[in-house]
């Protein structure tokens, strides 16, 4: 069964460093998302992406964050200058048809900022 994959599974970085989290969505899906979950808290929406552009972003998704679909398969989240509060589990999700349809999540990347 097709699934969303994410790499790395765990990333440790120092405050102020740039990180890139990678995702391979399900191959025929057209809508892509990033969410994050701080330990013990809710899963929070960060950004949605369709047709090579951002469709919607949350207040969390400030100028330090960017997303890209550099080729036909990868979908990346970049954090330019990490802060301690960026430590969280980051989930990528994809959907075949966008609004009103299931979103399928990857296993997550645990980002630890020290």
């Amino acid at each position: 069964e097709p699934e969303v994959t994410q790499t790395p599974s765990h990333q440790v970085t120092q405050m102020g460093q740039e990180v890139i989290l990678r995702c391979v969505p399900i191959s025929n899906h057209l809508y892509f998302y990033w969410y994050r979950q701080i330990l013990g808290q809710k899963v929070e929406f960060l950004v949605s992406f369709y047709n090579n552009e951002i469709s919607e972003k949350s207040e969390i998704f400030d100028d330090q964050f960017s997303v890209e679909r550099p080729d036909g398969s990868n979908f990346t989240l970049k954090i330019r200058s990490t802060k301690l509060e960026d430590s969280a589990m980051y989930f990528c999700a994809s959907s075949a048809q966008g609004a009103g349809y299931e979103q399928y999540f990857g296993p997550g990347t645990r980002l630890t900022v020290t």
Partner: protein, 113 residues
């Protein structure tokens, strides 16, 4: 803004019993989805119910949605120890081509063998 909130926060039952989890939200939605998360792992999609549906079944799962009360529920019948996990409801909005999901805080379900 729309918001899914589950109750109870934690549920402990014996294997074979049914588990009922509730979700309430504040604004109009397109759909309500339920996800499971095993400790430290990713989110697994369980079932989606649309705003024009009242009840849906999938295997041992039964979901309901009452848009007039802005609430829904997930029933797991004949629970198994392997059902032990956190369960989240997530609401999808009614506008936009790419509907974000808004998650609740989750319910921790423990099924005792």
């Amino acid at each position: 803004s729309q918001q899914g909130e589950e109750d109870p926060q934690a549920l402990s039952i014996q294997e074979g019993e049914n588990a009922t989890m509730n979700c309430s939200y504040k604004t109009s939605i397109n759909n309500l989805q339920w996800y499971r998360q095993n400790s430290g792992r990713g989110l697994v999609h369980l079932i989606l119910i649309r705003s024009n549906e009242r009840e849906k079944h999938s295997g041992r799962l039964r979901v309901t949605l009452d848009t007039s009360k802005k609430s829904g529920s997930l029933l797991i019948t004949a629970s198994r120890a392997a059902d032990t996990a956190s369960y989240f409801c997530a609401t999808g909005g009614i506008t936009g081509a790419n509907s974000k999901l808004t998650f609740g805080k989750g319910i921790t379900l423990s099924v005792r063998p």
